[in-house]
Amino acid sequence: MRTTHPTAPPAPGRRAFLAGGLAALGLGLAGCGPADTVLSGRRRLRQWNLFTGGDGARMVQMHEDYRREHPDIDFEPATFLWGNPFYTKFAMGAAGGRAFDIATLHVSRIRGMGAGTLIDPVPTDLLAEHGITRDTVLANVWDKCTVDGELYAIPLDTHLVVTYYNREVCERAGVLQADGTLTPTSGEDAFFDVLAAVREVTGQYGIAMDTTQPWRQFWSLYRQLGGEMTFDGDLVMDDDKALRSLDFLRRVSAEGLAPKASDAPGTPANFQNGICGLMWAGNWEIATFADAGMDFGMRPFPDVYGAELGQGDSHCFVLPHRRAPDDAAVAAAVEYAAWMLKHSITWAGGGHTPAYLPVTRGDDYAALEPQSEYRHAAADVQFDPEAWFSGSAAPLQNEANAVMSGVHNGSVTPETALELFKAAARKLLDTPEPV
């Protein structure tokens, strides 16, 4: 009816509409302000994490137990997609200074994510009250969490690239020991012999590895050769050792022992389909094959150039910088982190090796198969070189993967790949640090 007079709508209607709109806007803005403990009387604890896979399911399980034991805490976890999507939100949330109370992070990203600016130091005395000290967690990881003498993160686990083996295929290839585990090898030739024997059985390939992300393999091999990489003013690395590592990647594909092309979803599929009998991949893929009911085992990254060293990283808990200090919130966050460390036997089910030593030294963990087969590798995990642009899902890995993936399919020689990598790394070094 009124719509027939669009030129003169009743004024009160319009005012009412505007007033209503303003009121709604005001309500919406008011909703932005946190009312920490006002409404519920319980302490609110907001946790941000990046676990969406099999490890995410285990974290949810642990959080249910945590809630049951902490009825006085209003616990609010939030899960974001791994990698850039998480780190972007982390940086923005921490810059705001009040988005969350505790978050998970990769230890390799502590520097890049602003230790001291976005991330506050962890009160070690408070942590010690809960029994978490340098003596009760993996010392190598604890030291990685320390920047300029201050502890900036509470390590939860270690995860690294390991060798998966298909037990049935490997048995037929004669590369298993009497107890059914993969025979350890030493040296490049011995490893190539194993791959050749496995290929005889599969008829296609010996091993699968993600050729679109060769950084993990490259860094493992480079570190086995004793290669160093530093970014103090200029990039310093050992060209001969890098070339040898890259040539390994070229050779393993060129000789048909590994696929020339196998991307992130394709690699576990190749292993599961029996196209190859071995696979190099992160230990977190464990759930995929366990769920598929595969008969498989896991070993540390093999000794190709002198030691069983594998590239890896650690998940840790960090406390964001707060605009307004809140000791009670920090205490609750530290207590939560300590609780998670002590109950990380559940976490170990997802393949990550817990950093808390009483857990990994316990009988429950020793009984976990195949996790206990590679547990000693965690003490020697090879972290990425230190720079603000290095670490998990950081620019250096992206650059390395883009230039090195061509080595596998032969489109780029190891020499060219190294030159391109060095140019990309120097460019990152010239980029102003954003944090």
Binding site: T88, G114, T117, P259, A264, A393, A394, N398, S405, V435
Partner: protein, 321 residues
């Protein structure tokens, strides 16, 4: 644009017709009408200003600062970002990737859409709905689903595409992991995914061509090919112009399928990292929002330039037709 001016003229005509004699009473009414119109326009104008004009100006300003995602303040750095951008080979490589993608994806997206529309338009009544549905269906899928389907189809060793190739006696192609094929593979996926929209526009235009034009031509002895080139194509010219313009702009904005199908890596040697991919990396992986803003303005300038050229070409043709 043209519909709004047409209705504006139509609405103005009745008001203007009685105006010459009783000039007085017409004026206030008109003013009240335009005032009321203002209120109708206001919600859109407000949203337009808040979510388009303001972010664009803020983005332009950001490109002159060293703003980081991870720190609250930002300092004015003048043209430093722009200067860095001009010397950054990754910017030009990614822009080139975007242009190559546009060049290889637009022609098939227009030609195949036209072919499918012609087929559907001629199809028997019982088959028409089926063709319309099946040609348009991929367009309804979310990008993540499309990327996932094709990522598995392109897999070497066990993927369907390579399975067909080997069955036909051809060699396998490492579609997504070979520097030379990854962009083409993404273009093929994009054609499959979005051609349905262009198809729909063409089909609507075809159904708007009166059948008596064809009958008259047939009576004059024009064969099917002549009817297609002399009647169908000229009458579709405006639609083609629209489709080409929309398609070029859409292709220049390539990002999501390329990002997902290369698992965020940009492909081997960054062969499938489009301009927006590099903007994303600079701004969100590298946290350098100021620098990313500068690059996004460069891309914006390219899109505006290409659209203007294309628009001029087709509007001139439209006038002569």
């Amino acid at each position: 644009m043209s519909p709004s001016t047409a209705t504006g003229r139509a609405a103005g005509a009745p008001a203007a017709a009685p105006a010459p004699r009783p000039a007085r009473p017409a004026r206030p009414g008109r003013r009240r009408a335009s005032l009321a119109g203002l209120w109708f326009v206001l919600p859109f104008a407000a949203l337009f200003a808040v979510f388009l004009v303001w972010p664009m100006l803020a983005g332009l300003w950001t490109s002159f600062t060293d703003r980081s995602l991870a720190s609250p303040g930002a300092d004015f750095v003048g043209l430093a970002n722009w200067r860095e951008m001009l010397g950054d080979s990754a910017v030009w490589q990614s822009l080139w990737t975007t242009l190559v993608f546009t060049a290889i994806s637009t022609p098939p997206l227009v030609a195949i859409a036209l072919a499918m529309a012609l087929l559907t338009n001629r199809a028997a009544a019982g088959l028409g709905w089926f063709l319309r549905l099946s040609y348009f269906a991929p367009f309804l899928l979310p990008v993540a689903v499309v990327a996932l389907i094709w990522e598995w189809m392109y897999q070497p060793g066990f993927g369907m595409v390579n399975g067909l190739l080997t069955a036909a006696g051809l060699a396998e192609v490492a579609w997504l992991t070979d520097q030379n094929t990854v962009l083409a593979a993404i273009a093929i996926t994009t054609v499959w995914w979005t051609v349905g929209f262009n198809f729909l526009l063409y089909l609507a235009a075809l159904q708007g061509i009166p059948s008596y034009v064809y009958e008259a031509a047939a009576l004059d002895g024009a064969g099917p090919w002549q009817r297609f080139t002399r009647i169908t194509l000229p009458l579709l010219r405006r639609t083609t112009g629209l489709i080409v313009l929309l398609q070029i702009v859409a292709s220049l904005k390539l990002f999501d399928q390329a990002y997902i199908m290369t698992n965020g890596s940009g492909g081997p040697g960054y062969a499938a990292r489009p301009a927006i991919g590099y903007i994303f990396e600079a701004g969100f992986t590298g946290l350098r929002v100021g620098y990313a803003s500068a690059i996004s303005y460069l891309l914006f300038a390219v899109i505006v330039a290409v659209s203007l050229v294309q628009f001029r070409l087709f509007s001139r043709k439209g006038e002569t037709a």
